[in-house]
């Protein structure tokens, strides 16, 4: 019998690396595109805050407190010259410019989102890999994670914030801690299923040592789900920060974050709604965009989990 005709013929498909096709699919996905663009804009907003017609977001001015959007104030500079500044989004109860706070708030809020997502994933990844591959440790680690998970996240965050001095780092840690077990679970379950894959067994048969086995064969499988989970963690981090601020144990109020501005303005919801409205809109849009990005990434990177 002659060799199968198709075998020695040139291989049909173009030699395209999977990474690039994934990227192409991502760009074509409208949900990802919209979410990504909005996030990009928010990031730019935060980065260029000083050049966007803002004042010092912490500069107080008790004599023009609680002014409605559109209020104009004369600012006297050190050299005696005066300029008129229009408070586009009004002022808060200390006379700070809400617009400036919202714009600067993008910085901190996004910083929280990004750092919480990346740190909790990094830690969770390491612990998850260990739990998934080192059987004797699995039980201990997972019981510990169960314990951590059993403490409701908000309560844990409240406790952690009061453990440290209230501040940016404390809040970030507080939001990270409850997220870790969730990441660990995801990573561990991926490891447990991937380690049964024939190609991993083939690598074991090929004498691949544990560290390489992890890096080459197991870790890459966790990337897509973790990117997706990362986006959801980022979105929830922004929300949790707002809630902690609401409960009065968040980031120090002089540091503007969207959650903070809203929390400070909450008692003025009826009288001066602009305090809660503007940061609320920014926060909502951003979280929406992050969620959209996450959904889109999931649909694209992990077709099996599409739409979940």
């Amino acid at each position: 019998m002659s060799a199968e005709p198709s075998l020695l013929a040139p291989i049909a498909a173009e030699p395209v690396a999977p990474a690039r096709t994934v990227l192409m699919r991502l760009v074509r996905n409208p949900v990802v595109a919209i979410g990504g663009t909005v996030l990009m804009l928010m990031t730019l907003l935060g980065l260029f805050a000083p050049w966007l017609g803002t004042l010092d977001p912490t500069a107080i001015n008790p004599s023009t407190r609680n002014r409605v959007p559109g209020f104009e104030r004369t600012i006297r500079a050190d050299d005696g010259s005066t300029t008129t500044f229009k408070h586009r989004m009004g002022t808060d109860s200390l006379g700070r410019d809400v617009y400036s706070r919202v714009v600067y708030g993008a910085r901190v809020s996004l910083l929280i989102a990004v750092s919480v997502a990346s740190v909790s994933i990094a830690i969770g990844l390491v612990i998850g890999l260990i739990a998934g591959y080192v059987r004797p440790l699995d039980g201990v680690i997972m019981r510990f994670m169960d314990g951590l998970m059993a403490i409701p996240g908000i309560l844990l965050a409240i406790a952690v914030v009061s453990l440290f001095r209230s501040g940016l780092t404390a809040v970030i840690i507080a939001i990270i801690v409850p997220e870790i077990p969730r990441v660990v679970r995801v990573v561990r379950s991926i490891v447990l299923s991937v380690r049964e894959e024939p190609y991993v067994e083939a690598a074991i048969m090929a004498g691949t040592r544990l560290p390489q086995l992890m890096i080459r064969h197991i870790l890459p499988n966790t990337i897509a789900p973790l990117i997706v989970q990362g986006t959801f963690i980022a979105a929830s981090a922004i929300l949790v920060e707002a809630i902690l601020s609401f409960l009065g144990i968040g980031i120090p109020p002089e540091i503007p974050t969207w959650g903070n501005i809203m929390a400070e303005g909450r008692n003025l919801f009826r009288v001066f709604p602009h305090n809660i409205l503007y940061p609320g809109i920014f926060l909502g849009i951003t979280v929406l965009a992050v969620n959209m990005l996450g959904d889109g990434l999931r649909d694209t990177l992990d077709p099996k989990m599409a739409g979940r």
Binding site: T58, I60, S63, S93, L94, P252, P253, L268, F269, F272
Partner: protein, 522 residues
Amino acid sequence: MAWRLKSLVAAAAIIAGASLAQAQTTLKVVMHSDVKIVDPIWTTAYIVRNHGYMIYDTLFAMDEAGAIKPQMVDSFTESPDKLTYKFTLRDGLVWHDGKPVTPEDCIASIKRWSAKDPVGQKLMTFVDTIAADDAKSFTVKLKSPTGLLIFGLGKPSSNVPFMMPERVAKTDPNTQISEFIGSGPFVLKQDEWKPGDKIVYTKFKDYKPRAEPASGLAGGKVAKIDRVEWLAVADQQQAVNALLAGEIDMVEQPAFDLIPLVQGDKNIKLWNYNPLGLQYTMRFNHTQPPFDNPKVRQAVTYALNQKDFLEATVGNPEYYDACKAMFVCKTPLASEKGMEGLLESNFKKSQELLKEAGYDGKPIVLLHSTDLQSLTNLGPVAKQLLEKGGFKVDMQSSDWQTVVSRRVRKDPVDKGGWNLMQTSWVSADILNPVMAGFFNASCDKAAFGWPCDEQMEKLRDDFAREPDPAKQKVIAEAVQMRWREVVTHVHLGQYNVPIAARKNLSGILTAPAPVFWNVEKK
């Protein structure tokens, strides 16, 4: 859909209303805080003081004009050498359990109070003996004359010497009492008290009010409401919303920013019941650099000004008063002596003083509380003013309870200590240099901040010994002059918070504490 929902709701409201109609007159009030502790001697918290006024009575009380008048005491005699006082109790005073009030009860109560209260402690240094004479009267013998006896027994604010049954008053002062029986015009409904939800009082039918009309905390305490409920509403906005919706009758301390909301409502009346109000205060930690140096503390008095603080926290000039008198404007001891040039944000002077003092530019730790509406805005203002005055400020924000626990620590700043904190005092508690705890400069024995100045202590002692009001004023002014040198603390201005109540309430008394006798609901 809409009409159906609406009728459903209406029906529900009728059912709900029916069960409420059974009660007689009920007053639903949102106080500034929830009542968690119910021992007014054990803690100085104002909400517990307010609770004390509901169920307990006092031997003496301060009237609207600031004079101390007998309350449970029917009459008293003073010996010519001013060393022996005999007090006779009114007829018909009974505890909520029906037993009569005895002198023994009062003596035990005075002793428990004086073990805790600074004025009480001072007073006890003058007292020789207290003894019951008969079923109605008791005698206090002093070692040397003092104005503190009558004043102390009529002390209007925390800790108030409330009278309790002897068996209760025998409780160790550092242990909470576990029986809540008083002889005041209202009775605590213990079975309905749910901390975090509400505390309920009912009218004490056997209470015998004095014949005089009510005035301040003195006079006839006539309860005109059958039932008073203090509801715990944590959210300021919600409290005002509930008041506007008629779900509650009164909000004790509406947030200043929400006052326009109630002012605009025809069903609400604002009662400026406590014209003396409160005073904002900044406290130094005298044990830690740089505020162990008086020059640095003086620099602060130049850098600050009261108006900025009051603007930022109160906002509405109707409710604040930039007033330099330390012992509360509109009271007998009010004086601006020694205040020249201070509190005017003279940043240049402040910077000069800092230079003289050799301030090294190390950031000072300012404790900032973020969860009490009335204090939240003080921190940023202080930070901005002090920075203009040449300081470096590290404002550390936390909830109030953390501030409270941190301010008692003497550790160095880098080990969890502190330099500066801000709070507010009910003016009734700082009417003179003995009462006002922040003037206590007895080093380690002083309140947190621990100022240390013998001369100041001597002046306070003199004041305690001086019964004559005119001479008292001279001493108070001397205290103020001495303060200028040592700067135990800085007062940041006076303000008062009105009560917001539904229009159908009347008879809210003008007094240093909110009280519910004499209040009527139509």
